[in-house]
Amino acid sequence: MTRFVERHPAWALVVIIAIALALWLIFAVWPPGLEEAIGRKRVFLNALFNGITLGGLYFLVASGFTLIFGLMRNVNLAHGSLYLFGGYVGYAISASTGSWILSFIVAFVLTALVGVLLQVLVFRRMEGQDLRQTMVTIGLSIVFADLMLWACGGDFYQIQTPTWLIGPIELPLITAVKSSGEPVYLRYPLVRLVIFLASVIIGIAMWLALNRTRIGMIIRAGVDDRDILAATGVRIQIVFVLVFALGAGLAGIAGVVGGTFQSLSPGEDIRFLLASLVVVIVGGMGSIPGAALGALIIGLAEQLGSVYIPTYAIVVTFLIMVLVLALRPQGLLARR
């Protein structure tokens, strides 16, 4: 942080001003002139929160993707299929048992199992051959998509939100002041906040596991130099299987989350694969903090875009990707 300020004082100033402006936009009561210029504060705050919570979902999908890439250098293009698979499993569990929490656990375990099978049966056989792995995963994603279409049909499924999460809550943020002087507070869907909180907790837990535990140390060492790590006697194949299981399981959890506040249908696999590709390209391949930052940027761009420039909302995310590729091709937070 201090190094960044010392090296780029001008940029640091811009960042500080931007943060101050954002804080003012969030907490201050907007003067009427501003409301006329860019619309009501409620709309802005909602778009902002939606962007952040959507970023939470993107982070869940992309973190597994980037973790697998970081350690094994596999671009797993079947990651979107794992997302959709997890969602369908979550739906089946929540529909049959009525338990939302249980659907997360089962979805995590089953997709992790699929991940293990993928690693053992597919990736281990073609280790170090990036192009072959990529082609095989494209093929697999098509096969999986058709299998799921066969099993679940083209219908769209929605995982039932538990009753204690339905409806909005009031946040202590003033969106407007009524003529009587009474403040109007922001009302926001509770389920999105809970899901965002959960993704933050998962993110922090992953960061802690990677930076504070022995297994994390091994994984980080593997990211830096796989061959030396193997030479020191670590059973690298087991580490690979574990990481693949974790990455796949996270995609499965994300599927349940996505099925709860959006919906599941054929085609979602490609959408989330694309989203996680964009997120990791923006954030930096292989970096967990990069995935978090990338997910936040893409989520915000999508939501603010859909409110303020609806016609061009679709291209904004790709524009960001192009800019990053042009100016900092390794990604915003890549280490190398």
């Binding site: 619309g39 409620r42 709309v43 705050l45 909602n46 778009a47 939606n50 962007g51 919570t53 959507l54 049909g153 083209g154 219908d155 769209f156 499924y157 929605q158 039932q160 939100t161 339905i166 409806g167 909005p168 009302r187 926001y188 869907p189 509770l190 389920v191 999105r192 506040f261 959006q262 919906s263 249908s265 054929p266 085609g267 959408r271 999508e302 939501q303 603010l304 859909s306 409110v307 609806p310 016609t311 909302a313 679709i314």
Partner: protein, 416 residues
């Protein structure tokens, strides 16, 4: 020399046998949106099509109809790709296509490159398809989106007392056409449409769109369909939305009213208009509902056919009945068949249908309200039936032409 002429003879005999074989069968290509946002709509469309085959049979004189089904995803290029495949690979002679608005415009334009074939619109409802530069071999037996909204604006203004509304709709031709019909009538009656929001087809996250809905309106009109509509309702419920709702023809439809989950309950009491009403008591309609229910087990269909099933049923009916009138004669670039199609009057389940000079349907429209049948199933209950709705919505054609084509901002909210 001898060799090559032998080859030629062999080839021509092969071709001859091919045509001889084709005369035994008449090949018909069908497209439906079996992928993407509108999958559920496409699936029910195909159910309507199959119901029609069950009722009418596949025989035309001594010939047998053979069908090839292709899938699209509601985008115009997917529809053209599917139609091209059906014509070039499967060699179909008649097309029953497509389902969705933008697809309709693209297929109509494509139809002009194959003037020898016949295109029967399956369910698409953009106004432009038959109103602007229509293709002489493209026939549409369902009404367009604007015709399907006739009666809604007046009913909302006069009976419900709504004065100000806002609209949310998917950003493509069919919904433009629906909003066109609504705005024309509602503003003509004296109402105001304060805000029109457009979202891309296939939007998943509606939270920001919901937040941007105005509070100071009497009702919000939803022009959404398929997965988009379900996503919207789910997130609308999570955000605690409580406004009065009005719905377009594919919003208040069994494809949405029968969706899983309880988000759809927000729709009870919603006012809508469409080319059908689930609870209409007309015997023809009731018979169609029964045929549809008998054709499929309850878990493989909706409680009652959707608008898409009805449209596919009507189009298939026209296809087969006109073909029987000419006894399967498709000679001379299908001239006789096209003539029969242009003249035919259908006794469709959702009322009588005949075609105008642009080969566009003139039919019956229904204003409905969503009711709960007491067992948790939702149906659209008819509140008003309007017969003989034509494409210019009863306006003088010259006045209608001045309004402009449906788009994000057309028509303006005023009396024309």
């Amino acid at each position: 020399m001898l060799k090559s002429s032998l080859g030629l003879i062999a080839l021509s005999s092969l071709l001859l046998s091919g045509t001889a074989f084709a005369q035994e069968k008449i090949k018909v290509g069908v497209t439906a949106t079996l992928e993407g946002t509108y999958t559920v709509l496409g699936e029910d469309g195909i159910r309507g099509f199959q119901t029609a085959l069950n009722v009418l049979g596949k025989k035309v004189g001594d010939k047998e109809l053979e069908f090839v089904i292709a899938s699209t995803d509601a985008t115009p290029d997917s529809a053209v790709r599917a139609v091209r495949k059906l014509i070039e690979q499967d060699k179909v002679q008649i097309l029953l296509s497509p389902l969705s608005g933008d697809e309709g415009i693209a297929v109509k334009n494509f139809a002009k490159t194959h003037p020898e074939l016949t295109f029967i619109n399956a369910a698409s409802g953009a106004q432009e398809t038959t109103y602007v530069d229509p293709a002489p071999n493209f026939f549409r037996y369902n009404m367009d989106g604007a015709q399907w909204q006739v009666g809604l604006g007046k009913y909302a203004y006069d009976t419900k007392g709504y004065r100000k509304i806002a609209t949310v709709g998917e950003d493509y031709s069919f919904i433009y056409t629906q909003v066109f019909g609504l705005v024309l009538e509602f503003c003509g009656a004296g109402g105001q449409v304060t805000n029109r929001q457009w979202v891309p087809l296939g939007t998943k996250d509606f939270a920001s769109v919901i937040a941007a809905l105005p509070d100071d309106v009497d009702a919000i009109y939803l022009g959404l369909g398929g997965a988009d509509a379900v996503n919207f309702l789910n997130q609308y419920q999570q955000a605690g939305g409580k406004a009065h709702l009005m719905g377009g023809s594919i919003m208040i439809d069994q494809t949405i009213l029968s969706s899983k989950g309880n988000a759809k309950n927000a729709l009870v009491g919603t006012l809508a208009a469409s080319g059908q009403a689930d609870t209409w008591e007309d015997p023809g309609w009731q018979k169609f509902v029964k045929d549809y229910q008998d054709a499929f087990p309850p878990n493989k269909r909706f409680p009652s056919p959707s608008l898409l099933a009805t449209n596919y049923y009507g189009s298939t009916m026209a296809l087969i009945l006109a073909l029987r009138q000419v006894n399967g004669d498709l000679s001379n670039n299908q001239a006789k068949y096209k003539e029969a199609l242009a003249k035919i009057e259908l006794d469709a389940p959702n009322g009588k249908i005949k075609l105008d000079a642009n080969r566009q349907a003139i039919g019956t429209n229904f204003v409905t309200e969503v009711v709960d049948d007491g067992k948790g199933a939702l149906f659209s209950k008819v509140v008003k039936v309007i017969p003989n709705v034509n494409q210019t919505l009863g306006y003088d054609p010259a006045v209608f032409a001045k309004i402009g084509l449906p788009s994000r901002t057309v028509p303006e909210c005023k009396k024309y």
